[in-house]
Symmetry: C2
Subunit: 335 residues, 2 copies
């Protein structure tokens, strides 16, 4: 092959191919991509990333048009050393971006975390719960019921202070110890968070075992309990390659908020078990091809992830990043 | 975490998790998985695999219940050195499996290839064409029209001898030189192969740029031309992570034959541009989760791919294989 493939009819600004748009009936016209790479992605990375690099990453993702960039977690450094710089990072971001940084969501595991967010004048927080007993005990060191007791004052005080609260719910499809998680169990846990004052639920397939029919069944179960798609976000992991097929099903079910991690941060391309989040770029490729608007510049996210892969010293797990990023090009230009 | 996650409610024979079944309305009850790893997968692998290993691989995939295992291609060794052992491989397989080996499809690029298939008493052959002018020239060294002139006597003589013929059509979504490929151009090329005597078309997204809406539009365009889903197979590549989302859309459009490559053979987990076929295991995981029957033993395919990854000296690109295969376990047991 003597020529460089260029995609004459449709190509990005750098001559790289772009997905071809072919809308599908019945899908939402527009969705919100909720970027979790800086928090959920980095907290699963072994290499501790300098705070300046994190600030640059978050700034670039924000500049790429991502409407929600979850910046960090005010978790105790003992549990997640990678995020021990949470206050410093938010300080840097407020310096650079002002109010835009104060509008970036952060995770607050408990009231102490909330206090730190309130001190900085942040406007959006998230709590992180489990739909299963076993994972509540293992991840939060609390029983299923005790986790809600911990969230209750956190959510109440956040709401009283005028903040919005997102409720993450993990293990909504399968749990490594409990197996398949019954739909009504997930709905009950979600409703508890909503009744407490959470505005949105992010339903996580933490171990990536769900498939498309399961996604539709879960959305239907929430609808039966009076919880509409406007309150739900989907948080898929690509452990078994299902994240985009599940996203396709969720779009058909009317879901309009999807969590994703730039470059698939948090997964490892070498690991036997790549438990990472769905890559933002792979999600954007599909949405763009389906004609679903996001307001996000795919090229800019790819460039950011290629640069971050360099910082982490290894390729990105994202298929789109690996296919589009070129050595000496986006990855190193910082453009 | 002190315990090993085991998936109490649903686990495979080895205690590993299985997808949780949650059927989706309107999908086919049963589909055919057409295994292309030994031909399309291996022809893209750099390491030349010994013929005995290939025979073992094909035998194991057949034993796993895969109803169609495309074994090799009678292509000139100059073009694909990996498949220079095609006749020897088929001889070994006939020795071991008898008529079952004669029922395994093989690719025949032209009449000389067909002669070799006829000599061995094989019953199913496939030809490989392009939906675009540029790729016909680059892959076949023939113009778009000249390729059909080459296929015509091949297909005619195969049919006269009582064989079935599958027509592969590559670049059905996007072409690296020509960009988006118009639907009617793909349909015209497909209809020419069908009118020649091909029984089934395999529509390839060779560079993996298609998305779900495009898949449905292409199936609809064939239907308008009088070609029903019973004549169509889908052949997706995971270059941009879209293969399973596209499969989900194709299932909804009524497609019941899907090409896949065991372990994602042909792609490279390290490459920037992993252009490999959809992994059979990732496809089986989704179909099993959707309650769509295939008759294939997922565990047996995973074990085969893990063993092949050892033969090739690198991890499998399949998410499911990487998640399920354990060191010292399936990969090395040969079980």
């Amino acid at each position: 092959m003597s020529e460089t493939p260029a995609g004459r009819h449709q190509a990005g600004s750098s001559g790289r191919p772009l997905p071809m748009t072919s809308a599908e009936e019945g899908l939402p016209a527009e969705v919100t991509v909720y970027e979790v790479g800086a928090r959920d992605g980095l907290q699963n990375e072994q290499v501790v990333v300098p705070v300046e690099v994190k600030a640059e990453m978050v700034t670039r993702l924000h500049a790429a048009g991502l409407p929600a960039v979850e910046a960090t977690s005010f978790v105790h450094p003992k549990w997640v050393p990678q995020l021990a710089d949470a206050a410093e990072l938010m300080g840097l971001l407020v310096e650079r971006l002002g109010d835009a940084a104060r509008r970036m969501p952060v995770l607050v595991p408990n009231e102490r975390g909330l206090d730190r967010a309130l001190d900085l004048g942040l406007e959006h927080v998230a709590v992180f719960g489990s739909a299963t007993e076993t994972f509540a005990q293992r991840n939060l060191n609390r029983s299923y019921d005790e986790q809600f007791a911990m969230f209750e004052p956190t959510v109440r005080r956040a709401r009283e202070a005028g903040l919005t609260v997102r409720g993450y719910l993990s293990m909504c499809f399968g749990d490594p110890w409990e197996g398949a998680v019954p739909l009504d169990q997930v709905v009950r846990a979600g409703v508890r968070l909503l009744e407490m004052g959470a505005g949105q639920l992010s339903l996580g397939d933490t171990i990536g075992v769900g498939t498309a029919g399961h996604v539709k069944a879960l959305v239907a179960a929430f609808a039966e309990a009076g919880v509409g798609v406007d309150r739900l976000a989907m948080h898929f992991h690509d452990t078994y390659g299902q994240a985009l097929a599940n996203t396709h099903a969720a779009l058909q079910a009317g879901i309009t908020t999807f969590d994703a991690s730039a470059g698939g941060l948090g997964g490892c391309p070498y690991a036997r078990s790549a438990t990472g989040n769905l890559a933002t770029e792979d999600l954007l490729w599909m949405l763009q091809g389906l004609g679903v608007r996001t307001g996000v510049d795919l090229d800019a996210v790819v460039a950011t992830s290629a640069w971050m892969a360099g910082q982490l010293g290894r390729p990105s797990p994202s298929a789109v990043v690996r296919a589009l990023a070129e050595p000496g090009g986006l990855a190193e230009s910082g453009a």
